[in-house]
Subunit: 234 residues, 4 copies
DNA sequence: GATGAATGAGGGTTCATTCAT
DNA sequence: TATGAATGAACCCTCATTCAT
């Protein structure tokens, strides 16, 4: 998968580039094209979101300070309010902009016409590479953390991510059942069971990995073996 | 399971009882005072913990206000500091006192000599009744939320809960393997796979249940069917 | 006394640098604003220090409330923290900014080439006018009050004031000895003896003057008569 | 001079002794003689004052905590209020009980019929030994520190200490003038000039001695040489 | 648009004082 | 008399948000 989103650092670099684009030669005001201005605005938005990602995921919603977000983004504190109405809106935008893109890719993969096991392995790899080993992992953790206090956020996440992912997985499972690749039809009713180890991976990596490292890929393999009824000799 | 720990409401009742306990009989002065005082102190501690549970789980660590904890516990703000050195200590005590007891019960159950499936069902029921349908669910969510910012807490939780639970489950799985009740030995390496749907249950109930109710017991049944290779006809 | 004042902070310097970025021409908006802003900032700093002087000298370090300092300075409580990192820093800045300047003047006077007695009288007058009859008296009292609890402060005061004043007085005494204006060379070893009545003046004015007014100038005259061995007829 | 007051440590020991007087044999209530009880009460008062001396002189009035006073005195916090109506009363009692006794001795010494210089040297020695090298030094510093905030305290100190000391010194000076031991009659009008170096000693020892040790006895000698017009060869 | 100084409500914590035992 | 748990007002400091420039 090609990156759907620039990484934080890349975004920052981009912002810097944009900022220095007209070199030192102070262009007369108004000469700068509207398009360039819009682009600069977009770059700033990105920079702020990237900074917010770092701060929110490091400290949580309450403890994250907009001062730090601003400093990290290289803008003034007030500038944040030009792009986001308040701290909460920034948080929601953050979730939106970093998580949604991945879902599209997920849906795309589930539509590939291939044996379930192959698709599943691909999904697992996608999940590990794009989420577990990424800052996105922290965003998801943030949703679990703050979701109850921000029902809107939980709802958005349910609509945009959970339900879409569940549908995609459900379709995949149904096809697998029809083909006889799996036999337990209860999985169709509880696609959560397919995803559950992914959750474990996210939390474990964040909380316990330094105490007891977890090989996520191996765990997910074992998980699929289980689902497909593969028997390993003791 | 009989409670190892009094419930908040019970604590309050206990406090009242303690207050009225030595009715009329003239206990030697000092002894009476000391005993009653100690008991009252314990009751207060309980009350504060119960209140903290409500506030922390409703708002998270940072956003919870000790003012509210005090009010809810029916004590003055300063009183909290007689029992806990600061907000963080209160939080840790909360986790300790509400979670640890359950682990003991869990370990106990895993040592019962019965068919794996039966023990597993029992564990599931215990888990649902004592955690998922309880405030304890919120505590666990809190650990996931705040664990990264309080490494001590995560460590404590790992030592007290995770590693003990994993050992217990591992033992159970090993016995099941030996008896031929399960055939996938990878489960012994990843007991997390057994527990993963429990995690899903905790988070789902807290965040998405109002949008899309989840029948946790049914899901866990399906999970076990999967593990035991039970094939249901489509 | 015209005083040199330190700039608010490094942030200001940085701001100025940023402001000067658009070359030098036609300083439109921005630069003018920057100048006005900087000036306003300096004025605020002054206002806060003046307010702090009142509050600290009226109540002592611990009992002085920053709330009152803010109110008196006509700023919000939080504003104080834009200029001083905390209460202690404010206190130290106060001492620094009000006391240090006087020492320079003192040193200057001791270098005047004139008969000792004349210089001494001038110093006394300076001391009375600029310290005893001024709020500076209270600052010195504050140092005596809080010095033990803030060793840094005592050290600063020793370095900036005491040792410099002692050196200056010592030089003066040495010249006087050489010229035969005084004969007791022990004074050179204990310049404190010259200054001691000044201390008395400071404390007496603050604590006992309303009960028993003291004519400080007359006392200092008598002090010099003593040193110079002037004999008055009984 | 014989100690008029028990030293802190002695007081504590005395308290302990009093406490353990009836050994372990719980005497029936009421049997303990009223006299013993009064004695015990006095001992407690002493213990509290001694503890207060330590705490107040170490931290100042505001910053001293009654909790620490109680702990140091070996009594409960509430007990302090049985002996002193509030923190301020404790402070004033402290000053009274530790300073007043010394004044009596001072007055006594000034009435000795001996050459002024001899008496002066004796006074200096008394001052150094009983005040400068003692916790009393801190009490005097406390009066300077807190005097302005507690006018009652300053007034008490003026009446009990300052005015009595000044009278005594004045009498001494008058006799010295009459005998021709000194010639500067202005000293009679400003006895403060005699005492001033004592002040310097107190403050210097507390604030600057670690930076620049001061030989107080030598300084006072030099002071007297000055007053008596002793000329030392350069 | 962009800035960052200024605001001020709010929270954690302390501690003199009280009072039931 | 003695205790020490309990109180709650007070205070320092933070930080989201605003607004003049």
């Amino acid at each position: 998968m090609r990156k759907t989103r620039t990484k934080p650092s890349a975004a920052a670099a981009q912002r810097v580039a944009a900022a220095s684009k007209n070199g030192g030669q102070a262009l007369p005001d108004g000469v700068e094209a509207a398009g360039a201005r819009a682009k600069r605005g977009a770059a700033r938005r990105e920079a702020i979101l990237a900074a917010a990602l770092e701060e929110f995921s490091a400290h949580g919603f309450e403890a994250a300070r907009l001062d730090d977000v601003a400093r990290r983004a290289g803008v003034a504190k007030g500038t944040i309010y030009l792009y986001f109405s308040d701290k909460e809106a920034l948080f929601q935008a953050l979730v939106r902009s970093y998580i949604s893109p991945v879902v599209g890719t997920l849906e795309h993969v589930t539509h590939v016409d291939a044996p379930f096991r192959a698709v599943a392995e691909q999904l697992a790899e996608l999940f590990v590479r794009e989420i577990v080993e990424t800052r996105r992992r922290d965003i998801i953790r943030l949703i679990f953390s703050e979701g109850q206090r921000f029902p809107k956020l939980a709802e958005f996440y349910y609509r945009e991510v959970i339900s879409r992912a569940m549908s995609a997985v459900r379709g995949l499972l149904r096809r697998a059942l029809e083909r006889g690749e799996i036999t337990n039809e209860a999985l169709v009713r509880f696609p959560q069971l397919i995803v559950a180890p992914g959750l474990v991976a996210i939390l474990w990596k964040s909380l316990f990995d330094r105490l007891d490292p977890l090989d996520v890929r191996a765990m997910l393999h074992a998980h699929f073996d289980n689902i497909f009824g593969v028997r390993r000799p003791a």
